[in-house]
C-alpha cells in the first residue's frame, strides 16, 4: 500500500477529473483503463474489483455523490452490457464517469449499495429492465415491472407488445399509409407475454410474497409479538389509490401500534417504459415525451434533454451553440417553472398536513398566471415542448392575446413584456410575502413539521438525494452553481439551505428558492429587452439531425432535484438519427430512496407529510 500513498495524497480531493482518473489508473493497473471509444469519457473498471475502486473514488478522491447509475445494452456493437456511473463531488465540478462491463448472458456486476446507498433503486431498475444481477444488493427485486414479468424490457432483443419497427419513422405511415389501429392487429389482452413456467392464477400470491418477505414477514401478518393487543405488528398498504400519494404510488408499512417500523415504496403503476420509447424515437421525437415525465415542469425537462443532445452535437464539426437570446428565454422559462413547481408542491404539502386546499388554491391562482405566459409562448400550459436543439421553438409573442373561436370565448389581451414584468416585480413578491405570513409562523404547521422526517446531512449525500431534499439537509449543492449551464454563471443568486433536514426546512428552502428565482427573473428582464429581435435559434431548425457518436450526460437543477439525461449515440458510423440509449435520471425516483429511512420511528400521519415534502410526480418516478 506504500505506493498508493504516494499516488493518492490527502490533496487528492482537489484533483480535477482527468488527474483523478489518471491516479486511479496508476493505483489499479490492469483493473482501471481509460474509455477510449470516440466521444466517450471516463474510465472502465474491471467488474471484479468494482467495489474496491468505488471506495477509492468516494473516500480518497472525494467523489461522494453518486448521481446516476444506469445500464446500456451494446447488442450488435460489442455484445456486452455496461453499467455507467456518474459520481460528483458535493463541492462542485464535473463528473467522474466510470463503467463496468459484463457479458450479456449471465450478466452480473457487484452491487455498490454498500458504497453509495443511493445506488439501491437504480440497481434494482437495472436488474428489472436489463437483467443484470447485483450480488451484494440487499433487496434485489423488480421495481418498475411486476414480479413474474417475462424478460427484461430494455434489452435490445426484447420487443414490446405493439412492436412495429426498430426505429421511427415507421415505413407504414408514408407513402402508402393505409391506417389501422394497433389494437386491431394485436387485441388488448393478447398483447402480454408470460414466462413459460408462469402460473397466472397464482399471480397475486407470489408477487406479493416476495414483497412481504422483504419486510421480514410472511404473507400471514396476524402474528402477535407480545401479550395482548398493545404491540400488534401490522402490515398496512398506503396506496396505490390514496389521495396523499399524489398519484398511483404505494407504501407498504409495518406498524407497531401507530409507529412505523419499516416502510417500502412500491412503484411502477404508471410505468410505460419511457426509455424504450425513447430509443425507438428520433432525437427530436423525444422532446415532447420529456414533457410527460414531470408534467409540472415540462420547460425544465426540455432544457435538460436539449443540453444532453447539444453536448453530443457539439462533438461534430458543424455545431452551433444556442444564441444568447435563446439562453435568456430558456432561463426565463425554467425559473418561472421553478416557481410554478414550488407553489404546487407547497400547496400539496399543506394539503397533506391538513390545511385542505386553501393554501393550494391561493398558490394555484398565481400558477395560472404563469401558465398563461407558457401557453401564449409555447402553445400549451403543461406540455410545453418548447426547447429545440440550438434554441427554442419561437420567440416570445408580442402580446398575450386570445383569439375567439368557440362559442362563448372571452378574449384577453396583454402586452407580453408588461405582463411578465408585472408578475415578476409586483405580483409574485407580494404573493410570497402573503403566503409566508399565512404559513411560516403557523403553529400547527410548525408542530407537524419541525423535527419530523429528518434526513441527516451525510445520509442525504449517501442516498443521492437532490434538490430541496438535499439542500434542506444542509448541503449547498445546486447544479446551477456546481456545474453551471446556460447563462447561470453571469446571474447573481444564492443557494438557500436548511439546517435540520426536516419537513419544515424543506418548506423553507422551497420558499426561499422562489425568492431567489424572482431575483434571477429580475436580472433576466433587462436582458430580454436588450436582446429583442435577435435570433432564437442557431442555424436553421433541423428535424432529423445526424448526431455524432458518443455519450453525453446533460443535467439540470430541476425544481424537484437533479434531472439528468444520459444519451448514447452508437451504431451508425455517419452519426445516428435515433439514440442508442436514452436514460432519465429522475429526481422523483431517486429521492424516494431515503423515504424508508426518514419514516422509521415516525407516526402514520407523518408518512403522508414526509412524502409530500419530498415532492414527487409519478409520471417521472415510474417513467
Amino acid at each position: 500500500m506504500n505506493d498508493v500513498m504516494d499516488i493518492i495524497t490527502p490533496d487528492a480531493v482537489e484533483l480535477d477529473v482527468a488527474a483523478a482518473a489518471a491516479a486511479l489508473e496508476a493505483r489499479f493497473p490492469r483493473i482501471v483503463r481509460p474509455d477510449t471509444r470516440p466521444g466517450y469519457t471516463g474510465i472502465i473498471v474491471d467488474r471484479n474489483h468494482l467495489v474496491e475502486v468505488a471506495r477509492a473514488i468516494r473516500d480518497d478522491l472525494g467523489f461522494d455523490y453518486l448521481s446516476s447509475a444506469t445500464a446500456v445494452d451494446y447488442l450488435g456493437i460489442s455484445d456486452e452490457m455496461e453499467m455507467v456511473y456518474h459520481a460528483y463531488r458535493t463541492s462542485g465540478g464535473p463528473a467522474l464517469v466510470f463503467k463496468a462491463q459484463t457479458p450479456r448472458d449471465d450478466a452480473e456486476i457487484p452491487s455498490l449499495v454498500s458504497v453509495w446507498p443511493g445506488a439501491d433503486f437504480q440497481e434494482r431498475e437495472a436488474w428489472d429492465l436489463y437483467g443484470i444481477r447485483f450480488p451484494g444488493h440487499p433487496n434485489l427485486k423488480r421495481i418498475l415491472m411486476w414480479e413474474g414479468f417475462a424478460g427484461h424490457p430494455m434489452r435490445k432483443d426484447w420487443y414490446e407488445a405493439y412492436y412495429e419497427q426498430e426505429h421511427k419513422p415507421f415505413d407504414s405511415r408514408w407513402p402508402s399509409g393505409h391506417v389501422y389501429r394497433a389494437e386491431e392487429r394485436n387485441p388488448y389482452g393478447k398483447n402480454v407475454r408470460y414466462p413459460a413456467d408462469f402460473d397466472l392464477s397464482r399471480l397475486t400470491d407470489r408477487s406479493e410474497e416476495a414483497l412481504y418477505s422483504g419486510l421480514g414477514l410472511g404473507v400471514d401478518v396476524q402474528e402477535l409479538s407480545g401479550e395482548g393487543i398493545a404491540t400488534d405488528r401490522l402490515v398496512v398498504n398506503l396506496g396505490p389509490h390514496h389521495p396523499s400519494t399524489h398519484g398511483v404510488f404505494r407504501m407498504v408499512v409495518t406498524l407497531n401500534g401507530e409507529t412505523i417500523e419499516s416502510l417500502e415504496p412500491v412503484m411502477g403503476y404508471l410505468h410505460r417504459n419511457h426509455e424504450k420509447i425513447g430509443e425507438r424515437n428520433t432525437y427530436l421525437h423525444n422532446m415532447p415525451f420529456t414533457d410527460r415525465l414531470d408534467y409540472i415542469c415540462s420547460m425544465s425537462n426540455n432544457l435538460g434533454y436539449a443540453l444532453a443532445v447539444e453536448h453530443l452535437l457539439s462533438l461534430g464539426a458543424r455545431y452551433q451553440p444556442p444564441t444568447y437570446r435563446a439562453e435568456v428565454i430558456r432561463v426565463l422559462m425554467v425559473e418561472l417553472t421553478r416557481i410554478v413547481n414550488h407553489l404546487w408542491s407547497i400547496g400539496f404539502l399543506l394539503n397533506d398536513l391538513g390545511a385542505f386546499f386553501t393554501p393550494m388554491l391561493y398558490a394555484n391562482n398565481e400558477r395560472e398566471k404563469i401558465l398563461d405566459i407558457f401557453e401564449a409562448t409555447a402553445g400549451s400550459r403543461l406540455m410545453c415542448n418548447y426547447m429545440r436543439f440550438g434554441g427554442v421553438f419561437k420567440d416570445l409573442p408580442e402580446r398575450i392575446r386570445g383569439v375567439a373561436n368557440l362559442v362563448n370565448d372571452k378574449v384577453r389581451d396583454y402586452n407580453t413584456l408588461d405582463y411578465i414584468t408585472e408578475i415578476v416585480n409586483e405580483r409574485l413578491p407580494r404573493f410570497l410575502d402573503e403566503y409566508e405570513a399565512l404559513l411560516t409562523h403557523n403553529e400547527i404547521l410548525k408542530e407537524r413539521s419541525i423535527g419530523v422526517g429528518v434526513l441527516p446531512r451525510d445520509k442525504a449525500i449517501a442516498y443521492s438525494a437532490s434538490g430541496p431534499l438535499l439542500r434542506g439537509s444542509g448541503v449547498a449543492y445546486d447544479v446551477r452553481r456546481a456545474e453551471p449551464y446556460s447563462i447561470y454563471p453571469e446571474l447573481d443568486f444564492d443557494i438557500p439551505v436548511g439546517t435540520n433536514g426536516d419537513i419544515y426546512d424543506r418548506y423553507l428552502v422551497r420558499m426561499q428558492e422562489m425568492r431567489e428565482s424572482i431575483r434571477i427573473l429580475k436580472q433576466i428582464l433587462p436582458r430580454l429587452e436588450r436582446t429583442k429581435g435577435e435570433p432564437i435559434m442557431a442555424g436553421k431548425p433541423v428535424h432529423t439531425p445526424r448526431v455524432p457518436l458518443g455519450e453525453a450526460y446533460g443535467r439540470v437543477e430541476n425544481p424537484k432535484g437533479e434531472l439528468g439525461f444520459y444519451v448514447v449515440s452508437a451504431g451508425d458510423e455517419k452519426g445516428t438519427q435515433n439514440p442508442w440509449r436514452y436514460h432519465v435520471r429522475a429526481p422523483s425516483f431517486i429521492n424516494l430512496t431515503p423515504l424508508g429511512l426518514m419514516c422509521r420511528g415516525q407516526k402514520v400521519a407523518d408518512v403522508v407529510a414526509i412524502l409530500g415534502s419530498i415532492d414527487i410526480v409519478l409520471g417521472e418516478t415510474d417513467r
Binding site: R173, P288, N385, E398, R401, V403, N405, L406, R412, E443
Partner: protein
C-alpha cells in the same frame, strides 16, 4: 413573538382578505359582470385580486394564437377563383416523419395513368387518440399545409369509430387559419411572398420571369439592331442561368451514370 396561536390568527386574517377581494370586482362592476370582456380581462389578468372562476361552458377563455390541439389540413378557400378547396398538402410525408407518436398516415397521390406521384394526398389520416399535440407537423411542414387547431372540445361517445380523422374531416379553409392565428398567418404569408400556396407562387414567379426575360430579350434585340453593339448586359443573367442549368444537368447525368455502375457492380456481387 408573543402568544401561541398568533400565527394562526394572522393566517386567518389573510384568508378573510382573500374572501373580500374576491367580491370587490363584483361590486365595482355591479350589473356588468357578464356583459362584455372588460371585467373578464381584468379579473383574469396580472393585476387581479382574489379568486375568480371562469364559468365554463357559459364562458371560456379564448386560447392564444399558438395554442395547439389536434392538427387540421389547410385547403384553399371554397370560393377561391382558380382552385377552390384544393389541398395545400403535397403529400411529401415530412409531417408523418416528424410525428413523435406516429399518428399521421398518408397515402401519396398518384397519377392514375402514369403511376407517378403527384403533389396531392390521396388519403390523409390522423388518429387523434394517439396525437400528443406537440405541434411538430405544423412546425416542419414546408408548405404551411398542416396547422394546429384551437378546437379542444372533441369528446365523443365511441373512440373506436370516431377518432381516426380522414382528409374530409381534417380539411379546413385557409380563411379559418387566418381567423384563428392572424399574426402567425401573416408572418407565414410574408415568408412565402403571398397568400397563395408556395407552389402557385413559384409557378407565377416563373411565368413572370419568362415574360420579363422575353421583354429584356426583345429590348436587347432592339438595342442591337439600333447600335449594332455586342452582348447587351441585360441578357447576361439569362446566359448565366442557362450555363448553370447545363452544369446541373451534366452533374445529374454523371450521378446517374455512377448509380448505374454501382447497381451493375452490386448485381455482379449478388450473382
Amino acid at each position: 413573538m408573543t402568544g401561541y396561536g398568533q400565527g394562526i390568527v394572522r393566517g386567518l386574517l389573510i384568508t378573510l382578505k382573500h374572501l373580500v377581494n374576491t367580491y370587490i370586482d363584483d361590486i365595482r362592476y355591479a350589473g356588468r359582470k357578464y356583459i362584455g370582456d372588460e371585467i373578464f380581462q381584468i379579473r383574469q389578468g396580472p393585476k387581479s385580486q382574489g379568486a375568480y372562476t371562469v364559468q365554463y361552458p357559459d364562458e371560456k377563455i379564448a386560447v392564444p394564437e399558438r395554442f395547439r390541439f389536434v392538427p387540421f389540413l389547410v385547403v384553399e378557400d371554397y370560393d377561391h377563383p382558380e382552385r377552390p378547396g384544393h389541398d395545400w398538402c403535397t403529400s411529401c410525408g415530412i409531417c408523418a416523419k416528424v410525428c413523435p407518436p406516429q399518428c399521421i398516415w398518408i397515402v401519396r397521390g398518384e397519377d392514375p395513368n402514369t403511376g407517378r406521384p403527384i403533389p396531392e394526398p390521396q388519403a390523409f389520416y390522423i388518429d387523434i387518440d394517439i396525437c400528443m399535440n406537440c405541434g411538430y407537423c405544423a412546425e416542419f411542414c414546408p408548405f404551411d399545409a398542416i396547422k394546429m387547431d384551437h378546437d379542444y372540445e372533441l369528446a365523443s361517445y365511441d373512440r373506436t369509430t370516431h377518432h381516426i380523422y380522414d382528409k374530409k374531416k381534417l380539411s379546413k379553409e385557409l380563411r379559418y387559419w387566418k381567423s384563428i392565428a392572424p399574426t402567425t398567418a401573416l408572418e407565414e404569408m410574408q415568408a412565402r411572398g403571398g397568400w397563395e400556396h408556395s407552389d402557385v407562387l413559384k409557378e407565377r414567379k416563373k411565368a413572370e420571369r419568362a415574360v420579363s426575360s422575353a421583354k429584356t430579350d426583345a429590348q436587347g434585340a432592339a438595342v442591337m439592331t439600333a447600335e449594332a453593339a455586342p452582348a447587351a448586359p441585360a441578357s447576361q443573367p439569362e446566359t448565366d442561368a442557362e450555363a448553370e442549368k447545363a452544369a446541373r444537368l451534366a452533374k445529374r447525368e454523371a450521378a446517374l451514370a455512377r448509380k448505374r455502375e454501382r447497381q451493375a457492380h452490386e448485381g455482379e456481387a449478388q450473382s
